[in-house]
């Protein structure tokens, strides 16, 4: 029990640190001096002269100037806030509510305004209350206010929530006390009044908060921003939690809202629908709810009542699942770091599952144990090392051996906290394991348990995938053929991996491998899906299946950028951002993403096999699985990464074109033919997944609230689809050799099938781009661990790009699944190229400190992309005409790109010839790719498509330009001095702050827009950004380039942007000026600008909860009055002498 307690305590501390203390530190300057609450003001005024008053959590000293005849001491844990309060000539000091440095009974009155709700556990709340009572003299009065769960404008489904701080704050400052209708009243007051301490006491563990009602909210949390959502998982270890917290701090809430959370849907489709709705509703406003913050700890402490669980209904199990899901989300970021390891794990898991089929039932328990052991280790390793990941890969085949090794490794590296986490995880596992035995035969429950078990740590997700796979495999076993094929595929996959790994040096290999893996599973999936579709015959079904698959894929992909960013953010926020950590997170995300897709496939597979007669003969599957994967891997590992990517892109483009040309009917026919069956292994499963997704969607639609409905339907689903499509397309691209691409004109049944499947080809390309980015990032990181700044920046940029691409792909899909593919491809290509450029830049740059800040920026950028996508959808409908105009602009973009390139070259020459060479290569390759893509696209596709492509290209160009500017700036920094780096860091911080404000503006605009206020919101946000950035030239341009440039410029150096900005603005204006396109671009810009939204942890109190806490735990406080004010529960208590007999 002690262990679990320690774990919980560490976790809660980490939570408070990340979501309370850090947020206050970051937002201290922004906090406006709110108005006094009348009743507190009155309380102070009525104190007798000479009273000694301590305002604990004084914030900026709002109440320290009241009543000059009393002596007030303000204390706060936030140094910045105390500085502010001190400037007002107040007596302040820095301390923690849990350790007040005052003598007993030294104050006549104590204020605790909006403090206690920041403590994460009941123990800590009680401790804080006791500490308040301690320093209060007998007969002294204590005023406590805590945020109420029951609020007029905001409803909390759970008591532990992460509330976007900047928004509330901004509103306060801007509104200046007057409550905007849109903004929750309570928030304003709270924030304004009491940017007080983070740590405080009270609150009970109310069993209530956990379950059913929460699910509703929880989902929203996830959807709004994957990063944020991750936070919600209750069982997470401190680290995962911390990561999440950091992410949130970084500002991820908007992040590509809906995508990531598919995992949940995938696991439990039922719950999902609700969630998505909520999410879409108001990302900004939605507080993120943390479930079971205390409960988990409590449960652990109380017991391995393991079996109390039995008594619990399925509902509990479902909840657990949710938790798991949440965890898994959260874990995603953490996993990023260990891409390679994860990949290996995945494969390993797959192998195990396939091999273990016969034993599955027995093994399950073992599985869990193994996984449990592994999980903590892996997580720790991820955190600690980059290298360990590599090592892990080879180990995997022998699982237990690996575990031991890892454990030893971990022991060496683990800090006390980590050890605690481990122990905690183990406990959870044991509990769950016992539960599992009971529930084994109930698949869902079983899965849920597994999930819950795994969820404990971020790495656990990976295990979840395993479990899913195993389960699916069992199910699938009914269809022997499919199961066999799957097995074979897994085995082959593993072999291929092993071979590749052994051959190549560890680090580079890993980088290369990661993309491969992703592609492989995806490919299989596609093929299967195709087969299933063809078998079904109905075109509609095929389409839907594709969509559903897409959604899965999208889930997978979406999280990557954000998570990566988030991970980087976390590192940054933590203030100790070792390069290795930064590296890891992105990788981990990718790996996790990969993992996720696999499991869904398996599920679908089983279901599909059952429901549908297997159209494809078993023989077909082996060939696809066996040879292709190996070849694929080998090619990747051996061949230069760049060339592969480019080829893939080309192929993807061609495929897209083909797919477009081909009517659905053709696709169906072709699919019916052998090619589809070849890959059929998992299509059935996919179908099942699709069905689930559909059901969920339907449910969501039904449940959607009027306000949310529009958003939810548009954003969440489409996003998912797109992402999935991207993955599928990518796989296809990867598998297909270049020659095929060239021969696109001819319709080969196989290729056609692929194309048909890849209706989402465009998306696949985007995926590929994403992958490439990740690999690039990794590569750079590994190559130059010291060059943190540059790498971080590059990562951020790449992330931005990827996000943009995703958005584009999503938009395209929503608009036209087939026609849109080409633009996405282009964008992906450009992004990959740009990424390479970024890599070069990374080499140049040498500052480590900037990395953290950049990570934050990245987060910011990622978030906006989601908005953009939404806007795009709306705008796409109207944008067709405008797109043609964009074609003209394309040329301009090219020229601009060339100029940028020249600039880069010039700049790089100064730095080093090597760098120049690299850059040239990248630029050329990018150009070539672009040219290649253009021609085929033009021939095959209609004007509209061309226009879209061009638009995307122009965007890419702009991005490239931005990157170039970045490079320049980075180079300048290196040359000029290290001092500049520090300055830049400061600038970055400032920028972050600015971005926050920008976000506020956006949020406000959002609120204003009832239905489709995107344009307005975008403009307003842009304006805010531009104004803050100073560099931005014109408000109207609101074009992405402008904002991005401005943002980047401001971050790096304000002087540079002006030159390029005009160009960018011109291009954009010309190109994108169709309202729709511009709108789309704007959101992306905003993203690029990186408005950061900080989330702050609150434990919102139920009515009477605080009273109960005091009465139950603080015996020497007597509640005099309890009232509701300013969305808070306020209590005036008097300290009384307690006589103990």
């Amino acid at each position: 029990m002690s262990e679990s307690e320690g774990e919980q305590a560490a976790r809660s501390v980490a939570l408070e640190q990340a979501y309370v203390h850090e947020v206050y530190e970051q937002c201290a300057e922004k906090t406006a001096q709110g108005r006094h609450w009348p009743r507190i003001y009155q309380f102070l005024e009525e104190l007798e002269p000479g009273a000694l008053v301590c305002d604990i959590g004084c914030g900026n000293g709002k109440y320290l100037s009241v009543n000059q005849s009393i002596f007030k001491v303000g204390v706060d844990r936030c140094k910045r806030l105390t500085d502010i309060a001190r400037e007002k000539k107040n007596e302040v000091l820095i301390c923690d509510n849990l350790a007040l440095p005052f003598r007993d009974e030294s104050f006549d009155a104590v204020l605790s305004i909006a403090v206690v709700h920041h403590f994460a556990t009941t123990e800590r709340r009680v401790h804080a209350l006791k500490e308040l009572a301690r320093v209060l003299r007998i007969g002294g009065r204590l005023v406590i206010s805590v945020w109420a769960m029951e609020q007029r404008h905001r409803k909390f489904e759970s008591q532990d929530v992460l509330v976007p701080w900047p928004k509330a704050y901004c509103l306060n400052s801007s509104v200046n006390g007057t409550r905007t209708s849109g903004v929750p009243y309570s928030e304003e007051t709270l924030h304004c009044d009491q940017p007080s301490k983070k740590d405080f006491l009270i609150s009970k563990r109310t069993s209530q908060r956990k379950c059913r009602s929460r699910s509703y909210w929880i989902d929203p949390i996830f959807s709004p921003s994957p990063s944020t959502s991750s936070l919600s998982s209750p069982n997470e270890t401190c680290y995962s939690f911390f990561r999440r917290a950091l992410q949130k701090l970084a500002g991820g809430k908007r992040a590509p809202g809906s995508r990531p959370w598919f995992l949940e849907s995938w696991h439990n489709g039922r719950d999902r629908p609700h969630l998505e709705h909520e999410d879409s509703g108001d990302v900004d406003d939605i507080p993120i709810e943390l479930r079971r913050l205390e409960d988990i700890g409590m449960a652990n402490n109380k017991l391995p009542d393991t079996l109390s669980v039995k008594s619990k209904s399925l509902g509990d199990i479902l909840e657990i699942q949710r938790l798991d899901l949440v965890r898994s989300r959260s874990s995603i970021p953490g996993l990023c770091s260990t891409l390679t390891s994860d990949l290996f794990l995945d494969e390993h898991s797959e192998n195990n599952s396939s091999q273990a089929k016969p034993r599955l039932v027995k093994q399950k328990s073992h599985f869990i144990e193994d996984t449990c052991l592994e999980i903590p280790n892996t997580a720790i390793q991820e955190l600690l090392k980059d290298l360990p990941d590599f090592q892990i890969g080879p180990r995997f085949p022998v699982r237990r051996g690996n575990v031991h090794k890892q454990s030893s490794m971990n022991e060496e590296l683990m800090s006390a906290d980590r050890l605690r986490e481990k122990e905690r995880v183990r406990q959870n596992i044991t509990k769950q394991a016992s539960l599992n035995e009971e529930l084994i035969y109930k698949r869902k429950a079983f899965e849920a348990f597994k999930d819950s078990i795994y969820s404990g740590t971020a790495t656990k997700r990976f295990q979840l995938l395993k479990s899913d796979l195993t389960n699916r495999i069992k199910q699938t076993t009914t269809d022997k053929v499919s199961g066999l094929s799957i097995r074979n595929g897994f085995v082959k996959m593993l072999q291929g991996w092993k071979s590749t790994e052994s051959e190549f040096p560890p680090q580079p290999v890993n980088v290369v491998n990661i993309p491969k893996k992703e592609s492989d599973p995806i490919e299989r999936r596609l093929s299967r899906e195709d087969g299933s579709d063809s078998s079904k015959d109905s075109s509609l079904q095929s389409d839907t299946s594709v969509d559903s698959e897409d959604s899965f894929a999208s889930v997978i992909y979406v999280p990557k950028p954000e998570q990566v960013e988030s991970s980087t953010r976390q590192l940054a926020t933590t203030s100790a951002p070792p390069s290795p950590r930064i590296k890891h997170p992105p990788d981990l995300t990718s790996s996790r993403l990969k993992m996720i897709p696999m499991s869904p496939l398996l599920k679908q597979f089983s279901a599909g096999s059952k429901s549908l007669p297997p159209p494809s003969p078993p023989g077909l599957s082996p060939r696809t699985l066996g040879p292709t994967p190996r070849a694929f891997f080998g090619g990747f590992s051996n061949g230069p990464f760049k060339s592969l990517i480019s080829t893939e892109k080309n192929s993807a483009d061609l495929k897209k074109e083909e797919s477009k040309k081909n009517s659905e009917v053709e696709i169906k026919k072709e699919e019916v033919k052998p090619p589809a069956p070849v890959k059929v292994d998992k299509p059935l499963q996919d179908e099942d997944e699709n069905r689930k997704v559909r059901l969920n969607q339907i449910k969501e639609l039904l449940k959607q609230k009027p306000g949310f409905a529009t958003r939810c339907t548009k954003t969440a689903f489409p996003l998912v689809r797109r992402a999935s499509t991207a993955t599928t397309g990518r796989l296809e691209t990867v598998t297909r050799p270049l020659p095929r691409l060239l021969s696109l004109e001819l319709f080969n049944p196989e290729t056609d099938d692929l194309d048909s499947d890849s209706s989402g080809v465009s998306s696949p390309e985007s995926v590929g781009s994403v992958i490439s980015v990740i690999s690039d990032e990794r590569f750079t990181v590994k190559v130059k661990a010291t060059v943190e700044n540059s790498t971080v920046e590059s990562v951020t940029e790449s992330k931005e790009k990827t996000s943009v691409e995703k958005i584009e792909t999503e938009e395209d899909r929503a608009y036209d699944l087939l026609s849109n593919t080409s633009p996405t491809n282009i964008s992906t290509e450009t992004s990959s190229q740009s990424i390479r450029l970024l890599e070069a830049a990374a080499h140049v740059a040498n500052s480590i400190e900037d990395a953290v800040e950049t990570a934050i920026k990245l987060n910011m950028q990622v978030e906006p992309t989601t908005q953009r996508s939404k806007e795009r959808r709306d705008s796409l409908k109207t944008s067709c005409d405008d797109l043609q105009e964009l074609l003209d602009t394309k040329d301009v973009g090219k020229s601009w790109n060339e100029e940028c390139r020249q600039h880069l070259i010039d700049f790089t020459e100064k730095l080093s010839e090597n760098l120049i060479n690299d850059i040239d290569r990248y630029c050329q390759s990018s150009k070539l790719d672009l040219a290649d893509t253009k021609n085929p696209d033009v021939d095959a596709q209609g004007v509209a498509l061309r226009t879209k492509v061009k638009a995307s290209k122009t965007r890419k160009y702009s991005e490239l330009a931005d990157t170039i500017a970045w490079l320049k700036s980075s180079g300048i920094e290196d040359k000029e001095a290290k001092d500049l780096l520090r300055q830049s860091q400061e600038n970055i911080l400032d920028f972050v702050l600015v971005s926050d404000s920008g976000e506020f503006v956006q949020e406000q605009s959002r609120k204003d827009r009832p239905l489709l206020g995107f344009c307005n919101s975008v403009e307003s946000s842009d304006v805010g950004d531009s104004a803050e950035n100073t560099t931005s030239i014109s408000e109207e341009s609101g074009s992405i380039l402008m904002t991005k440039l401005g943002s980047t410029g401001s971050l790096q150096q304000p002087s540079q942007p002006p030159e390029e900005n005009p160009r960018c603005t011109e291009n954009f204006n010309e190109c994108s000026m169709s309202a729709s396109s511009s709108q789309e671009s704007l959101p992306s810009d905003q993203n690029g600008g990186g408005a950061i939204t900080y989330h702050q942890y609150y434990h919102v109190f139920r009515e009477g909860e605080l009273d109960q806490l005091i009465e139950k735990y603080v015996e020497n406080l007597h509640v005099i009055s309890s009232y509701y004010d300013h969305a808070s529960w306020c209590i005036v208590a008097e300290k009384v002498q307690v006589w103990t007999i």
Binding site: P49, S69, V92, L98, F102
Partner: protein, 124 residues
Amino acid sequence: MKLLTHNMLTSKCLKGVTVGYPLGIVAKDIKLCVVDFNSEFIARIIPKLDWATLWKAADSIGHVGELPQTLIQDFETNEEFLKKVHHVLLEVDVINGDLLCPESGRKFPINDGIPNMLLNEDEV
């Protein structure tokens, strides 16, 4: 940090410290500011003080002035005395320096007039 604040500070939150009072003061920068004198306020505060601690603290930083080492009986009516106390309590501001735990010797830095009493995790 005013000496009135110091009069209430302890380091008893430190692990292993039972009293932690009074804290020693190592003043590097002291600023004298002007605070409006309120005789009633001072008179009401004096009984709440640990006079010996106040005197010792004032003495340690060289601003004890003419304060007696023991509290006089009629301070409530002694305007002159109250002004002296007022000066010591509210107008002597330690801007930079350290607070010392009398038991453990732990230093709590004072920067810009703000004592940082935060403890490390292992100190709680």
